[in-house]
């Protein structure tokens, strides 16, 4: 079945440094990948999405590229801000076996320090 792996549970960085949060996935079908961000006591919100191989997608300073050859969709930002502290989830849907159902990774908690 579909699955998503996020290897970092906790990431702590100083403001202004770059960040990369890892996401790899498994699916038999053509994948749709998403990054959701969840601030404390708030609903998860869509940050990025992609289904196009090797095309960079960007939003709010974050970017990611879907690489089907390596089954990856890593999230990056060149300079993190205090407001980026949140929980980040990578998610997968395949549009075939269960249209639009999201399968989430375990999440990465990003803490940005002054």
């Amino acid at each position: 079945g579909d699955s998503v792996t996020q290897t970092e549970g906790l990431v702590t960085l100083t403001k202004g440094l770059p960040v990369m949060l890892n996401c790899t996935y498994q699916t038999t079908y053509s994948p749709f990948l998403f990054w959701y961000v969840q601030h404390l006591n708030e609903a998860p919100k869509l940050l990025l999405k992609s289904s196009t191989d090797n095309k960079r997608t960007e939003h709010q300073g974050f970017y990611a590229t879907l690489h089907k050859s390596s089954s990856s969709f890593h999230l990056q930002k060149s300079s993190v801000q205090l407001s980026d502290s949140a929980l980040y989830f990578c998610a997968l849907s395949d549009k075939v076996t269960n249209y639009n159902v999201l399968y989430f990774g375990s999440g990465t908690k990003l803490t940005v320090e002054p």
Binding site: Y36, N41, N98, Y99, F104
Partner: protein, 113 residues
């Protein structure tokens, strides 16, 4: 647009009691999803509806959990005989027809004592 509305925001039940959680999707959205969020398991899919019809409940525990969508403006998740392991944040999300993005509600935090 008020977004997805979930009520109550917090619910505390005693072991063995029933809990009913409510979700009002965004108007015009045809799909409604329920997820459960815990520290240990993360975000897990439970069930979803499209145009009020149940499509897949493969993530629902086979006993005690049920979900309904009696009309296009609300869905309910009912947990009978709640157990401490049911304690979690239950998230509802909706999406437009054939859309990619799911819009999440703020969740209901269920605590079973």
């Amino acid at each position: 647009n008020a977004g997805v509305i979930q009520t109550p925001r917090h619910k505390v039940t005693g072991k063995g009691q029933e809990a009913t959680l409510w979700c009002e999707p965004i108007s015009g959205h045809s799909a409604v999803f329920w997820y459960r969020q815990t520290i240990v398991q993360g975000l897990e899919f439970l069930t979803y509806f499209r145009n009020q019809a149940p499509i897949d409940d493969s993530g629902m525990p086979k006993e005690r959990f049920s979900a309904q969508m009696p009309n296009q403006s609300h869905s309910t998740l009912k947990i009978q005989s709640t157990q401490p392991q049911d304690s979690a944040v239950y998230l509802c999300a909706s999406s437009p027809d054939w859309g990619d993005e799911q819009y999440f509600g703020p969740g209901t935090r269920l605590t079973v004592l």
